[in-house]
Amino acid sequence: MADSVTRVARKERTLGPVLRIWVVLVGFVLVAPTLVVIPMSFGAGSTFQFPPGGWSLRWYGEFFGSKQWLASLANSVQVGLLAAALATVLGVAAAFGLDRARFRGRGAVRQLLMAPMILPGIVVAVAVYGVFLRWQLNGTMLGFVLAHTVLGVPFVITSVQTSLAGYDPAMERAAASLGASRLTTLRKVVLPLIAPGVTSGFVFAFATSFDEVVIALFLQTPDLKTLPVKMYESIVLEIDPTIAAASSLIVVCTTILLLVPQILRRRSDHDR
């Protein structure tokens, strides 16, 4: 009897051969196409031929030797940091507001703050471009930062709300009853508790801005381009394989950024 139960349980755990093959194939399709950029970046030829005919470090040289590519990278980092910082300040405040405040129309405000996530990027891009042309914000750092801040706010709100969900307001009262001032409570109790949510919100907002290309394509001018815009142009206008080096650098950096917290977390689990 017990034997047949374990047999059923084991059968439950294993997947059929067809399903296994399907999972492997889908896994391959999920990962492999993107990895194409890495061999491409070490190619020698000046076309998008794959696999490349010869090997070289030429395109990394082009990337790090080109004023335009480096400037676009610097612009992307600057826009990303500023937009993420602004989105974090606005988003953390809004997440607290949504958590604490009870008033009519709260649902509507929430939907408003989340709307940039849902609307098609192209509609937002064209609308923002139209207004920014009049306000002379297109092609300016401020314009990029403001447009990307709007996109980052929903991510910050979502991740801070997740940390607030497991947060007990009674702790604030406990701190107050022990004589902590409101500022001390905020600094010593509230912020450490929501810090993980704030950090991941900031990272999400930065990543969103760093990767954003639709709005950036409209706001860009020859003097101010972000990295994704430069990459877009290197496919459409120039057929410039430097994009392969840029893509590989981004892919490797994101992979490291994603894996490092996981490894660190595992290590701290071991320490405990």
């Binding site: 139209g130 207004v131 392969a244």
Partner: protein, 288 residues
């Protein structure tokens, strides 16, 4: 004392609503206002009236763009569902470790840079590229995906997989497998049990995934702009070209509004479909 605490809390509550003000203000000025302006322009330029909408919905070329966009989004959604369903099913069945790996894999397209991913597909789909050679090898000649709606569809399915797999496996993990055993003991085995028991139970996940993927596919810009062709343009491409080449904000606004209305209709239909499912499976849907 007993009365003071609730009063103080009420004060805090009303004060808390001010925390929403900065974010709301920034969004109103830099998000809602631009959208309102372009919508207004779609009704008021060049002359006050519906001329832009007449030219979107009355012009054969434009109608074809809208229909092509809907058809492409539908194909992408169905293809993503077909690819994702078994994968999500497998994810819901394997152990914790394997599930972690499969989750990591499915999030790959989500994490990789938009431009890197589209560049990779551009390279794979180009004339004389890997995919063409692959099709040549199995005897199908002259497949060039780059510059076709098919090429856009293939790349889009990959991008959309995370948005389909995650809601699917969320629902599937909540499905009580003893129901399948019960079905089996009552004589419904294999495919019958799947169609009559498992599939209906997984419907909330299917609908959630389908709505996200369909709506996102309607508005995608970069992939069609890079991998597609102006001859078979999708709505987002037309909106982009109108503004870029002609500075025709009014026409772009009208097409954008049509796109938004279509999105809202799809959302309404799907949530109407999901409503009767919500009560019976609400417990399972938000697990994991």
């Amino acid at each position: 004392m007993t009365a003071a605490v609730p009063v103080r809390r009420a004060v805090l509550r009303s004060r808390a609503s001010w925390l929403l003000f900065p974010a709301a203000a920034v969004l109103l000025v830099f998000f809602c206002y631009p959208l309102a302006v372009i919508l207004l322009r779609s009704f008021s330029e060049p002359a006050f009236g519906l001329s832009n909408y007449v030219s979107v919905l009355g012009d054969e070329v434009q109608i074809r763009v809208v229909l092509r966009t809907l058809r492409t989004a539908l194909i992408i959604t169905v293809a993503t569902l077909v690819v994702a369903y078994p994968y999500a099913y497998a994810m819901s069945r394997v152990g914790r470790r394997a599930r972690g790996l499969l989750t990591l894999l499915v999030l790959m397209p989500f994490w990789t840079s938009v431009m890197a991913r589209n560049f990779a597909w551009y390279v794979l789909e180009q004339r004389g590229g890997v995919l063409e050679k692959l099709f040549d090898a199995i005897g199908i000649h002259g497949v060039s995906l780059l510059g076709s709606v098919t090429g856009v569809t293939v790349a889009m399915v990959q991008v959309m997989l995370p948005f389909m797999v995650l809601p699917l496996q969320n629902t599937m993990r909540g499905i009580d497998r003893s129901l399948l055993h019960a079905a089996g003991s009552l004589g419904a085995r294999g495919p019958v049990a799947f169609v009559r028991v498992y599939l209906p139970l997984s419907m909330p996940g299917v609908l959630a995934g389908v709505s996200v993927v369909f709506i996102m596919s309607l508005g995608f810009y970069i992939t069609p702009a890079l991998l597609g062709t102006p001859q078979q343009a999708l709505a987002a491409q037309v909106i982009g070209t109108r503004v870029n080449d002609l500075l025709d904000f009014a026409g772009a606004g009208a097409l954008g509004a049509v796109l938004l209305v279509l999105t809202l209709i799809v959302l309404a239909v799907l949530s109407r479909l999901a409503a009767p499912l919500g009560t019976s499976t609400a417990g399972g849907a938000d697990r994991g």
